[in-house]
């Protein structure tokens, strides 16, 4: 008898309708008016656009050209060129050119983690496009510009969570990384 009653009066469909009407009338909308009023902000540590940290002393990158990021990159999209210079009778290796092909990058963040001097960062900036391939090929100047754009809005001192991830044994980090306080 009950089943006939349910069949005749569409009880289960009415129940479903009641639920949706209740959500419609008494609950806040889930969707947000994106880009008109609210711009969604990623959480700290989001792996977004690449940047090279600008040193306050030299106004250039603090990269020491150790090639570690180049070797750890799974998609091999980091290109580093070095020059050897003589300074005070010692031969030194110096960075000549640093470039990242963002269109090949998989945003794993391994490069940020292995960098011994915290020179590289994947910033929380994610709204970027390129109209052609050259726009997404970040050379050294572009990477430094990315950093300026990012740090202008970020809180100081800035410390990326992937520079020294929480809970990892100290032995995995260089001395510079262990003492790092942020820029």
């Amino acid at each position: 008898m009950k089943s006939l009653f349910e069949k005749l009066f569409l009880i289960e469909i009415l129940k479903g309708l009641a639920l949706t009407v209740k959500k419609l009338l008494f609950e806040k909308p889930v969707t947000i008016e994106c880009y008109d009023k609210v711009i969604p902000q990623p959480y700290p540590g989001f792996r977004g656009r690449h940047a090279l940290v600008r040193s306050e002393l030299t106004q250039g990158p603090i990269c020491v050209a150790c090639h570690r990021c180049e070797r750890v990159c799974p998609s091999r999209c980091i290109y580093i060129k070095t020059v050897e210079i003589e300074e005070e009778g010692k031969r030194k290796r110096q960075l000549a050119e640093y470039a990242i092909d963002a269109s090949r990058c998989v945003y794993c963040g391994y490069c940020v983690e292995v960098c011994p001097v915290n020179a590289l960062v994947l910033t929380e900036f994610y709204q970027y496009v390129g109209e052609n391939r050259e726009d997404l090929y970040f050379d050294q100047e572009r990477l430094l510009k990315n950093w300026d754009e990012f740090i202008a809005k970020a809180e100081r001192p800035y410390f990326n969570p992937f520079w020294k991830p929480k809970g990892i044994p100290e032995g995995f980090f260089s001395i510079v990384k262990r003492k790092a306080k942020g820029v």
Binding site: E12, I13, G16, F46, P74, G109, P165, P169, G171
Partner: protein
């Protein structure tokens, strides 16, 4: 090309009225969940034969892995089943840890269990959303995506990425949970069972849903075994097989949970099994969060685990006897990882995901073989569709829960 020849052969010598009707579905059809192509032989609207064609998303992940070191290989695993990448990461890491004979810290094990159960919830929510949308329920789709968004936001806080996490690494995980993440997860765990009740109110007894799912694609327990189904598809047929129970990995031996089974093995039973699994996953996360407070402040990576950057070759100078010189010093390549093989399998949201790795002592796997559930499930489509209507085909693809990135690799 061979397909066309086959069709020509069948059509030869027959009148036009008795020719079978051939239909090509996909690879761009929206309800094939990716780039699956189905070549159908129809009689009216009934499917006589169905030939799935895969390979449109082949990236050669197994071959690529041979040129990357062990930690870099985990990046590739994100791209297998991109809906539940955390679970894939765990499978790869488990196989490599067996090879390296590493002991993972307890906190890392608990964290891995949490992220892989979150992946299960994510995957099942997306499955429910698209399955319901294919069958015709729009509201469930929107509700499920709302809740999945919440989980993706938590993932973003945990590891900085929403889909391709790369969170697990060999020997542990990459980063410990922040305290805010644990609070947010507690909030999610409290709220989520109410949301599941909402979905069930909408479709559980809905007559359209029942008509579209009951007695569709019935697979008996024996057939399911023979077809190689795993995961919820096997459990829907009444076989209580779960890798988490039979070969517990990570922290699954510490937590309590039930393995739901169906009775009839039809689409509706598989739906029921997955809905119960959502609740069980929620419960597992809750237990793990309680246990996580016991291990506060512990490390999440084993001390002797390999660095992200492994050297390609390590040479060791060794002395060897020489007939004329007496002794000769010769550089010899040293083993970086133990030579041997390892196998690990996990219960990924779609089924059983296994990884087999062979090492020759260098820092890169000599051979990596991945057994993915979607590939096996696609091979069951011809058997399951026989005698059904075209409209049911969409429901069958949905109930198998296939991801083409997983099957083509």
């Amino acid at each position: 090309m061979s397909l066309v020849l086959e069709v020509n052969k069948k059509q030869k010598g027959k009148d036009s009225w008795e020719e079978p009707f051939y239909l090509n579905m996909g690879p761009q059809h929206p309800s094939t969940h990716g780039v699956l192509r189905l070549f159908l032989e129809l009689e009216g609207e009934t499917i006589v034969n169905c030939d799935p064609i895969i390979g449109y998303l082949h990236r050669g992940i197994e071959k690529l892995a041979e040129n990357l070191n062990y930690n870099q290989t985990i990046v590739l695993s994100d791209r297998l089943d991109y809906i539940s990448s955390a679970a894939n990461n765990v499978a790869f890491a488990l196989a490599f840890e067996k090879l390296f004979k590493l002991e993972v810290p307890r906190r890392a094990k608990l964290i891995r269990t949490i992220v892989s159960e979150m992946a299960r919830i994510c995957s099942h929510l997306l499955w429910l959303a698209t399955h319901a949308l294919d069958i015709g329920a729009m509201t469930v789709f929107l509700y499920c995506f709302r809740d999945r968004e919440w989980l993706l936001n938590i993932y973003e806080r945990i590891c900085g990425a929403r889909l391709t996490h790369t969170y697990v690494r060999v020997g542990g995980v990459r980063r410990d949970f922040e305290p805010e993440v644990i609070e947010e997860l507690y909030r999610f765990v409290e709220e989520f069972p109410k949301r599941i009740t909402d979905y069930e109110t909408l479709i559980d007894t809905n007559r359209i849903w029942l008509k579209r799912t009951k007695n569709i694609a019935v697979v008996s327990a024996e057939e399911a075994f023979n077809l190689g189904l795993t995961g919820p598809c096997l459990r829907g047929s009444g076989v209580s097989y779960d890798v988490r129970k039979f070969r517990p990995y990570d922290a699954y031996s510490e937590v309590e949970f039930e393995v739901p089974v169906g009775q009839n093995g039809d689409t509706y039973d598989r739906y029921k099994v997955r809905m119960i699994e959502l609740r069980q996953s929620n419960w597992i996360i809750k237990q793990c969060l309680d246990k996580l407070s016991e291990t506060e402040g512990e490390l999440v990576l084993a001390e002797n685990s390999p660095d992200l950057l492994m050297p390609e070759k390590v040479r060791e100078v060794s002395a060897q006897p020489h007939p004329k010189l007496g002794v000769m010093f010769k550089p010899k390549e040293k083993e970086i990882v133990p030579v041997g093989e390892a196998f690990a399998s996990i219960e990924s949201p779609k089924g059983e995901l296994s990884v087999y790795v062979v090492s020759d002592g260098s820092s890169r796997p000599w051979r990596l073989r991945i057994r993915t559930p979607s590939f096996v499930h696609i091979s069951a489509i011809p058997h399951m569709t026989k005698g059904h209507m075209i409209a049911d085909l969409v429901a069958i693809i949905g109930t198998l829960d296939i991801v083409l990135g997983d099957s083509d690799r």
